[in-house]
Symmetry: C2
Subunit: 202 residues, 2 copies
Amino acid sequence: MPASVEFWFEFASSYSYLSVMRIEEEAEKRGVQVVWRPFLLGPAFKAHVWNTSPFKVYPLKAKYMWRDMERRSTALGIAFNRPPPDKMDSFPQFTVMAARMAIIGLEQAWGKDFCRRVCQTEWVDCANIAEKALLENLAIKSGAPQEILKLANHPNNKLKLRDQTAHAAKLDIFGAPSFIVGEELFWGDDRLEDALDWAAKL
Amino acid sequence: MPASVEFWFEFASSYSYLSVMRIEEEAEKRGVQVVWRPFLLGPAFKAHVWNTSPFKVYPLKAKYMWRDMERRSTALGIAFNRPPPDKMDSFPQFTVMAARMAIIGLEQAWGKDFCRRVCQTEWVDCANIAEKALLENLAIKSGAPQEILKLANHPNNKLKLRDQTAHAAKLDIFGAPSFIVGEELFWGDDRLEDALDWAAKL
């Protein structure tokens, strides 16, 4: 039986978006199960070197990333729009609330659909996914209970996201998306196939 | 007629090694010409953020890189050995002399063979390619003139490498290997196929 893959992603990460949109289809082809693990990169970066996104620290890499995203999304057939200049300041976006909701959704049946909707809102519409009313609306469309906002902000749920983020650091995860297969760490949407192939062979 | 690809590489870069070994075969499949451009990453890093290799700044990334190199080299059928602990301190290696010789070799007929020999010495034998006698020997095996060491250290040749490195910065190159196709920059051995495909379509 193939091993399962832990899929660690962050809504603020552009390359995580590509993996969110395509991982289930690629996993299904290989008969591999995927366990979705939303987490926050901020604390992971902070624990090491950066106080902010590497794309803020390193403008040339950011410039490259936007162009690379355009080329890769086109090649993969995934919709993507580079944020217009007046919206660029909101990137990387504030994703705590989206991640808290995703934690709940992924324990229920509506999580994956919710994650894809959030990502498309961020990376196709270039809307700000930090807005609670917007997130609430997306969650309910995906099948969340009406009181989702309250559930997301419950102390126990906040703690789950903090624990998950701390767990990512223990796995030596330093970027997103990352994939864990047994003892192996794969980093980047461009390692998605490698990670799934690895799991399929186990 | 397909466009040509500028292949910017640095002997100190592990992922450049993979591209050095496989780019000509992949280019030939697509009828694409490759112009080899050795340069030094040190000044490029210094011009931006880092005073040293990002793998020195960021140990988790280094740990990941060595394992990723093992997996990718195996998948690509390219020999590779992780340096043993007593040799690890010499990585990233001091590559100025190798790059100076490569500049000359690539203007003559022996350059590509020399680059592959240097890379194999570094990444398979884990020997230190900063040693002049070793480099001289590799160059002569590839077909260099006997006086290669003197030619490499000629002020005009030193200047060529400095100019090439400065030119890389003007192209917004921030890592190696990088590939330039017209106005497009591709970064990383895992974008080698994309870069060549892009050139083949032009």
